[in-house]
Every structure is written in structure tokens, then in C-alpha cells.
Amino acid sequence: MNGTVAEAVRPPRKAQSADFVAWLVTTDHKRIGVLYMCTSFAFFLIAGILALAIRAQLAAPGLSVVGPHAFNELFTLHGTAMIFLFVAPFGLGLANYLVPLQVGAADMAFPRVNALSYWLFVAGGLTVFSGAATNGGAADAGWFAYAPLSDIRNGSGAGMDLWIVGLLMVSAASIMTGINLLATSLLYRAPGMTMWRLPVFTWEMIVTSILILMAFPPLATALAMVFVDRRLGGHFFDAAHGGNPILYQHLFWFFGHPEVYIMILPFFGVVSETIPVFSRKPVFGYVGLVLSALAIGGLSVGVWAHHMFATGAVTNSFFSAVSFLIAVPTGVKFFNWIGTMWRGQLTFPTPMLFSIGFLLNFLIGGITGVIMASPPVDFHIEDTYFIVAHLHYVLMGGSVFAIFAAIYFWFPKVFGFRLGETLGKWSFWMMLPGFNLTFFPMHVLGLWGMPRRVVTYPALAGWAHLNLLATAGSVLLALGVLLTVVNVWLSSRRPTPAGDDPWGGYSLEWVTTSPPPEHNYEWIPAIRSERPAYDMRQTAAKAP
């Protein structure tokens, strides 16, 4: 065992270069998944560095660490990369790796389309960033690039065009991956793997994929229309020629809110896998978890205009009601996770710590979300730092903490060796306070009326203190993230073999070897529940 793992980890030199080419041309869903996750994590690190620059500029009132134009590029690239190039694609990469394994398939339904998606995603990401090398600099209209600010007549140069083209590629990549995941999980299930035995993660990916298919076409449409306005003399969003800026907002947010769930459902799935394993119990209320995911998916296409309450152009009451409603299925999930821990035997290795961190942070983001669903209150807090706090509690405190849980949980399966627990725990215990120090004060700043996306702010009472606190917190948070990067590096220098099933896992992927063979399974156990690996261990224990 020991020997084989070491060999898998450090192949001889020649094999290494052959291996490199093999990675480039691979259509194996596991390799594509790993590439997807590594690439998106690289975008996370880059976007994180941009965020530190933003926090440096805002550490005190009146600084000029960067100028206003650079600042606008910074938050635009930060937001774009985090949303389009990190959180959402990391979820897709993880699904790429896990869904075929979890349903007992040998690969994705369309392996070559899968490779195409990945490379399109890489090209799209690089295209977005390449704007930074143009004369006018990178896109600078914010991650939702409202028209007509994004129009060429209002100043943004070639960087904006590259942003549009890059995101069109990313959209196409996402749509293809969505189709692939749907086909795989619906049609490529192993015998015995009925829909109601699919792991919750796979279920969440099914709903995510459906949302991708509904949300990305309108985004692509909106982007194409902006491009037509910019370069081909169109007037879709130009009020002076009968165009309508509100139309852009409708199209964008009809994508934008489902996108929010595209960025969170996969990670609801992650903690629905980790929490049961580390509580030594089956997940509580499997059917409830699946139904609530479907309910969230359905409701999430009916809330988009809660981003437009202050436009005065939408029926606020309708969108308010649906936004309130969507909190209910989210709440159901919370109670199910608590029910899973209830009367269990909890252990706290790093993936469980990050899962609990996810619960603690996401709850706050969910509560502020409900508060913003009330239009009169939103009239005050929209476009202030309160929104920034909210969206980071759900995205950073929620999705990203779950991403770290996923990294620590599945790393041994993917690479055959474990990540160090000591550094992992240090990483968690720095990220949790670092995150809260950074983002909690932003609620207060927003309530005081500090608008988002300002390059600097007046020295009003208390503003300097809270901003400085946020900047200090972001340093701690960054160091915590760095520890995990260091952990990966150190752990791969002295790999500790993981074995097939280091955690006592439940879903099918824990049955095969770590890393799994090219076709995933030499054999598949009988599947009689949503915990085939658990059932197999029970049967083995009972056998004489």
C-alpha cells in the first residue's frame, strides 16, 4: 500500500513529462475536475490579492494607494474573478470529479465536450484578465457592468470588450458542463442507483445544472447586446435613442440571482456529505434536503428584481414576497444539518471544522438576506457596504468555507494522501476570526451610509476605525488561506498515504481506490440505500 502511493505521487522523471502531455489532452473527468479546481483556485488567489489591494486603499480615509481608475479595475476584476472564475467553476470542477464517481459511472456522458468546457473556461478567464494589458486598462464597470455605464460612449475601452468576450466563453463552458452533468446523473447511474439513492451532493448538482441552463443564456444575451451597442452601433440600452437601461438590469439579474444559487447549492451539497460522515449518522431528512433544493431552484428564478428595488421600475411586493419565501427552504436545510448532528458522535477533523464554519457564517448571510428582502429597508441599505457584508457572508463565509471543507475532505481520495491536520486546523482558526473581523464591521458601515465601490471615504465618526478593523481582518484571513496552500505543498513533500476510505465515508466514491483507477471502478457493490459504502462495511462486519 505504502509503496504504491509513493509511486503514484512521485513518478520517475520521464513518466512525468509524458504525464504532463497526458494532462493537457485528457478527457478523463477526474483529471478535468482536478484541472478545473486548480485553475479556479488560482483565480481565487489572484482575486484575493486584488482584494487585499482594495482593503489597503480603504484602510484609512483619504489614502491614495491606488488611483480611482485602478480602484475601479480592482473591484471589477475581483468580483468578476471570484464569481465567474472561482466559486462557480470550483463547484463545477468538484462535480466533474465527483458526480460520475457518486453515480457509479466510468466517466461523464460527453468526455470530449467536457474537455472543451474546461479549456473554454481557461481561455475565457485569461481573456477577461488580458484587458489589464490594454491601453485603457481592464474592465472597470463593476461585476454587473450596468448599461449604459458599460457603453463605449461612457468611456470604457477594449478591456470592457475583452471582459464581454471572456464571459461569453465562460458562459458557453458553464452551459456545456451543465448539460454534461445532467446527462451523467440522469442517464449514467449504476444499477441500483435510483434517483432517491443519489448522494445529496449529486442532487444539488442536478438542480445547479438546471439553473445554469436557465440563467446563462440570458446573461449571454445581455452581454451580446452590450457588445452590439458598443461596437456595432446598436442602441438597446441607450435611452437617447429609445433604448432602455432597465432592460439590461432585468436580463442581468435574471441570470444574477440564479447564479447566486449556482454558487451555493454545490456547497450545500458538500456539507450534506461531510456533516453526516463526521456525525456517524445518515443525513437527517434526505427527502427534505432534496425537495428544498428543488424549491430553491424553482423560487430562485422569481426573485431577480430584488436587486432592482430602488429603480422604481418593478413590482416590489411580488419580488419581496418570493425573496422572503426562498428563506424557508434554506432554513429547512439548516435544520436538517442540525438534525444530522443531533445525537451523533461528532469528530472535528479539518473538513468538519470548515463545515461548521460554513453553518455559522452562512446563517448570518441568510438572515441579512431576509432583511434585504424588505424593499423599504433595502431602500436604505442597497448599494452600501451592508450589501458587501451580506454577499461575503454567503459567498466567502458560506461557499468558500465549504470549498475548504471539500478540499480537505476529498483531497485524500483525489491524490491518495492526506493534507496535514495541524496546519489545516491553524488555517481554519485563522480564517474564521479573520473573515468575521473583515466583514462584520461592514454591516455597520453600510447602515451608517457608506456606499459600496468608493475609492475613498470622508473621515466621519467611526468610519476610519471600522475600515481599519476590516483591513486588519483581511490580513488574518489571507494568512489563513495561505496556510492551506502551504499545507498542500508540505503534505505533498512527505505524503501520508490515505487508504481508500480515510473518513469512513458513505457515498460510492469511498469504495474505489485512492486515487481511483482510470475507469473509476473495478467492481461496484450492491446499492441498497443512499449510503452504499456504509452498507458495504456493515455487511463485511457481519460476515463471519
Binding site: F284, V287, I338, W342, I371, S374, F379, H380, A461
Partner: protein
């Protein structure tokens, strides 16, 4: 418990002792009634919004405390005590699950009802406003035009304009933009409304307290977005009338 209204730096004033005596019992950081919450609101509409905020905040805090307690209880009480017997493998409890679906439904139902009432009030526009101001946003400042008087004020990023308004009378504000989307935002009024090219957005303000209030552009609009400021000076009706007469 209002001590943030005087315009003085309330947080700076809030010593550690007074912090624990006043702020903490008042509901920790996000309390609606101290220096860590939104301004109390200087218009009648804002006061209604502030009340609604309080309800939402305290509901949120209550729900948060209950769920945090359940999580922390599970973590502490059920941590592995290394007894060999595996825990009970129960998989759900339908009556319980229905309960925790229905109760949140009721809670958000009530919140929506309260929201609806306040929203009706805030969005309501009077048929006979005393003063009507046309606000035009442009990159990167504001132009205020008092309807029926020809009085106009325009600013620049370096010289933010001042909007003078009467206290105790209904003011109609009609916002639009001449280039990109901006947003007319006065934090003390707990209110903003987007300024959109081609759209005339109207709302009413009933200012309750005289004072000078900070205003800002809330929708990102490019290079000098952060400098797109203005002030609102609310003066008694008589003073307003004589100001309108002046040049």
C-alpha cells in the same frame, strides 16, 4: 437611547463603560437604537422604515440566537466521547420537519405583511406636494431645479451642491439622469432612488427635523463616483419661503 443624533462623533464618545452600560444591553453591534445601527431617520417616511428595520433586526437576532444555540449545543453535547456503540441511525422525523417548514413560513408571512404596509406608506405620493424639485444626476454631480420658480442649483465634484428643502411640508422629488445610472441617496432619510436616463422617478419626502444632511450617489457611475456628493439643508417653512424669494 438615542445618542447618535447630535451629529457628534458618537462612537468616539462612547467610552468602554458607557459601551457596556448602554450599547450592549441595547442589543450588541447591530442594535437599531444606538450608534451601531442606521440613523433614526429625519423624514416621516424614514421613521416608518426605521420601525420596520427594528422588527426585522430583532426577528433576525432571535432566529440567529436559536439556530446558533442549536448548532453549538450539537457540537458540544454530541462530540465524540469515544464510546464504542455507534449512535442511533435515525434518518428523519416528518412531523418535526413539517413543523420547521411551517413556522418559518408564518414568520416570513408576518414580515411580508409589515413590509407591505410600510412600503405602501413610503411609496405613496401626495397629489398636492408643496414643493417639487427636479433632480438631474450627471457625471459627476447634481442639478436641482425647483419647479415653477426657475430656481436652479448645480454642483461639481469639488463643489457639492446644496438642496434646500422645507421642514413639515411634502416635497416631491423627481430624479433622472443625463448619462449613466446614478442613485440619489440621503442616509439620514434611509432612502435612495435610482436616477436612470430616460426615466423620471418620483417620490415624496416629509422632512421632520431641520438640519444639514449628507447626500451621495449610491450607484457606481465611473471615475469620480465617490465624489458625487451633495447636502440637503432642511429649514423651517418660513425660512424656506424667504430663501426661495432670494436670488
Amino acid at each position: 437611547m438615542q445618542f447618535a443624533n447630535s451629529g457628534e462623533p458618537a462612537v468616539v464618545r462612547c467610552s468602554l463603560r458607557s459601551f457596556f452600560l448602554r450599547c450592549v444591553p441595547c442589543g450588541l453591534a447591530l442594535s437599531g437604537c444606538g450608534s451601531y445601527g442606521p440613523p433614526a431617520g429625519s423624514t416621516r417616511q424614514a421613521q416608518a422604515i426605521h420601525g420596520l428595520w427594528g422588527v426585522l433586526l430583532w426577528t433576525g437576532i432571535a432566529v440567529g440566537i436559536i439556530v446558533y444555540a442549536l448548532i453549538l449545543w450539537s457540537v458540544l453535547r454530541y462530540r465524540n466521547r469515544s464510546d464504542a456503540t455507534p449512535p442511533p441511525q435515525f434518518t428523519g422525523n416528518p412531523p418535526l420537519e413539517i413543523t420547521w417548514t411551517v413556522i418559518p413560513l408564518l414568520i416570513v408571512g408576518v414580515l411580508f405583511f409589515l413590509t407591505y404596509r410600510v412600503e405602501r406608506y413610503v411609496q405613496d405620493v401626495s397629489p398636492h406636494p408643496a414643493v417639487t424639485v427636479n433632480v438631474t444626476a450627471f457625471r459627476w454631480s447634481w442639478r436641482f431645479l425647483y419647479q415653477g420658480s426657475g430656481k436652479a442649483i448645480a454642483g461639481t465634484p469639488d463643489q457639492p451642491p446644496q438642496l434646500v428643502l422645507p421642514v413639515g411640508q411634502t416635497v416631491r422629488v423627481i430624479v433622472t439622469s443625463q448619462d449613466v445610472v446614478h442613485s440619489f441617496y440621503v442616509p439620514e432619510f434611509l432612502f435612495k432612488r435610482d436616477a436612470i436616463p430616460g426615466v423620471k422617478n418620483a417620490f415624496d419626502l416629509d422632512i421632520a427635523k431641520p438640519g444639514v444632511y449628507r447626500g451621495e450617489c449610491a450607484e457606481f457611475c465611473g471615475l469620480s463616483h465617490a465624489r458625487m456628493l451633495f447636502t440637503v439643508k432642511a429649514v423651517p417653512a418660513a425660512a424656506f419661503a424667504s430663501w426661495m424669494q432670494s436670488r
